[in-house]
Symmetry: C4
Subunit: 255 residues, 4 copies
Amino acid sequence: MNTTETKNEATNTTSIDTSDELVTSADPHHPANLIPELCKGFYHLGWVTGTGGGISIRDDEKVYIAPSGVQKEKIHPSHIFVLPYPQEEPPLASKAHERTFLRKPVIPLKESACTPLFWAAFDLRNAYACIHTHSQHAVMATLLWPGKEWRVSGLEMIKGVRWGGVRKTMTYLDELVVPIIENTPEEEDLRHTMVEAMKEYPDAAAVLVRRHGVYVWGPTWESAKTQAECLDYLFELSVKMKQAGVDTDWRPTQG
Amino acid sequence: MNTTETKNEATNTTSIDTSDELVTSADPHHPANLIPELCKGFYHLGWVTGTGGGISIRDDEKVYIAPSGVQKEKIHPSHIFVLPYPQEEPPLASKAHERTFLRKPVIPLKESACTPLFWAAFDLRNAYACIHTHSQHAVMATLLWPGKEWRVSGLEMIKGVRWGGVRKTMTYLDELVVPIIENTPEEEDLRHTMVEAMKEYPDAAAVLVRRHGVYVWGPTWESAKTQAECLDYLFELSVKMKQAGVDTDWRPTQG
Amino acid sequence: MNTTETKNEATNTTSIDTSDELVTSADPHHPANLIPELCKGFYHLGWVTGTGGGISIRDDEKVYIAPSGVQKEKIHPSHIFVLPYPQEEPPLASKAHERTFLRKPVIPLKESACTPLFWAAFDLRNAYACIHTHSQHAVMATLLWPGKEWRVSGLEMIKGVRWGGVRKTMTYLDELVVPIIENTPEEEDLRHTMVEAMKEYPDAAAVLVRRHGVYVWGPTWESAKTQAECLDYLFELSVKMKQAGVDTDWRPTQG
Amino acid sequence: MNTTETKNEATNTTSIDTSDELVTSADPHHPANLIPELCKGFYHLGWVTGTGGGISIRDDEKVYIAPSGVQKEKIHPSHIFVLPYPQEEPPLASKAHERTFLRKPVIPLKESACTPLFWAAFDLRNAYACIHTHSQHAVMATLLWPGKEWRVSGLEMIKGVRWGGVRKTMTYLDELVVPIIENTPEEEDLRHTMVEAMKEYPDAAAVLVRRHGVYVWGPTWESAKTQAECLDYLFELSVKMKQAGVDTDWRPTQG
């Protein structure tokens, strides 16, 4: 796992590969090409404006992650971080730079603050991609569902979501439940409650963060993306329904 | 009709053409080129996010259909299925693979689950294109019109819709009525009630599916698309009107 | 004025120029290039979906008009009609084909049904461009302002609108008034009431058509387009304000 | 500072450089290339429709400003004005053409009416970019917060905004306060109250103008843009929250 670097020290500068080899490919489906393209699409959906949100893709034994605090619609492949997988997340109190990297951008950037959250999806769900959005539809859902869960049923779009985000797709007869965790001042500090929520809700395909956004994952980047679209559609529709006085808990019965 | 294949058996692998010949053309108006381009446009209208929805085009004795469960904004012509027309839809209890194909993608894909619904529009209305959307405007219309019909009148955009979807265009004086059928767990199972609704409402240009979306068709792909646009506009506007307390049943009178 | 044609007869086929000469130019600002490009932009604003709406541009002694009933985001320069200006509009009861043309598309298309309305803006306001949209914001404005006028004041965007659509720009202190006429079954039949409204409201930059849309014009295509944008913004904002209980009649006073 | 011109007189025509040298560059990050590209993006966000709004970028000792009254999505680098920085703004009663320019477009254009407002951000905050939008979300925020401040707290997106627009980023625990000033008939006349508001609110990252829009700035164009996105997101979300009866003043507490 440490073939291209030695354990990076607090100085964070010794021996990390900053060449573009791991992020250069003519294949449009290479994660270093996909992340910029997908983030651009997310920007135009209003999911990652103002540098927030993004996507991480896992490919064999590598994880590709975008930088923190950059315009997500203008990422260049050379900005992408590559980390070996698996590796243990640093303890909460530690510094992010105690992570192990296979490759870092040569310009001074920090990996996304969502890294420990993406990692939770890889570790607990065996996901290969995880998306974080600041979609206003997700935020409004957390405000109009003040408890610890957002629930809907009886909507066709539920069929596009997978049990636990990675198993078989749900049916029209199933109730979709997404746990809602409370926001924390530091994104990293969401890790503990997100892990707890994922364990308490093993069937959940996502975790909503109140006043913040949502994390969605899948067995492939395509699946993570289409599930994120279905969930965002359902967050938006459920808010409209609630505001129009339409029951969001209506349950269909087997034909 | 069976020139390029023998009747496909339950194994579904014998003798089906998987070459790209039937879906390769330099003509941008070839159905195998139109379907990807139109679906991309529908994606940006919010009609087919999360792999849902799509369009099928009939051209002489062939029907072109997109695969099920793929990102509709990223369809490649080589993903398109070609079926001979006419052919009887398999009975409801049968498997989809009992259909006859002229061409299938070489990669393992299944034809759209909307196939029997598209077929209903071809058979009952002699349509040459049929569009299915998951537009939230259509879904909201089915929730705010809880009965078996959505109705509006007195709106200019009605003039863009055709009687029965395929005959002459309606006038500003006409009331537009679209039947609403109840959703079913399996898309295929909508066929029976959709056919019944189309027979009960011979003048209807579309069928709404409650909590799900809408099917719209036309004598050409251009007409199906522009009618889908007019109807979606009217679903959206009628929801806004109802929420603003504006009468959606106001009837104009002849000048 | 009749250099390239003889008076066209009821048969409408004799001697009309159908060559592409008058609609072929490498200049992106040639009206035959501008109309397709602008209509594409209008489509993505939701102004001309479902074939409705469009723009006509007048250039010296020629008027360029798009066809009726086509997808407005896919117009080709060769689809454009060219008419000599000035010419009298045919009397209301007459057929549209009694107009004089300098050039018609070779494929069987009819000039936009908005032609007599565009002409009103050219004749009464000496406009050089006229835009017609089916924007839902315009329609909602006509539904929430049930009288014969839509009025707003105290909004910065008013400064982007011209007195009468063609004179000097309005100020922040001015009240913006747009007359609303009732819709008619045939678009052509709007001409009489639109002309009356334009005469009754010489300062109005546009005419709203209830349950239908709006006509906006300007001394140039740039001005018609930016005024249409300002007005659409104001229709949308005024509807939001009214629905939020905010006074739309608030009047600023001189510094 | 006056190397390429002599002090321009009331005639405003003597010796001003109108060559394209200062606005021609192959570097996409040159301000004369950035301004057109960014304004195009702002247009599609609904921030600068109808010629309103824009961005000014300061680069070393030069300030780049777009013209007034042009379609902001169609600016050409040759339309950009270049002014030396620093220079004193002309007194309020004076004419705009008493400013000093390094370069003017050869076609008759006037620099943006926002110039004295952009200048305030450069002078008072040492900003290097300033954005002005007519976003309806900003306007609605000024209408639903009728006092002299718009305030929100407890929303993740606050973390994308900087103290004073140029210092360190805010935290999730901080309350975001933006002063609201009253609109004036002439944009230039906003300068006095905007300067006062910036002095009274040294921590504010923006100034809202009631019934008009917002001014946002940053230490770089990237920062001004992402802060403008965060603020616009928060204006929109806060309006939705207020209309849904959700408390916009909820304060999170430390861990």
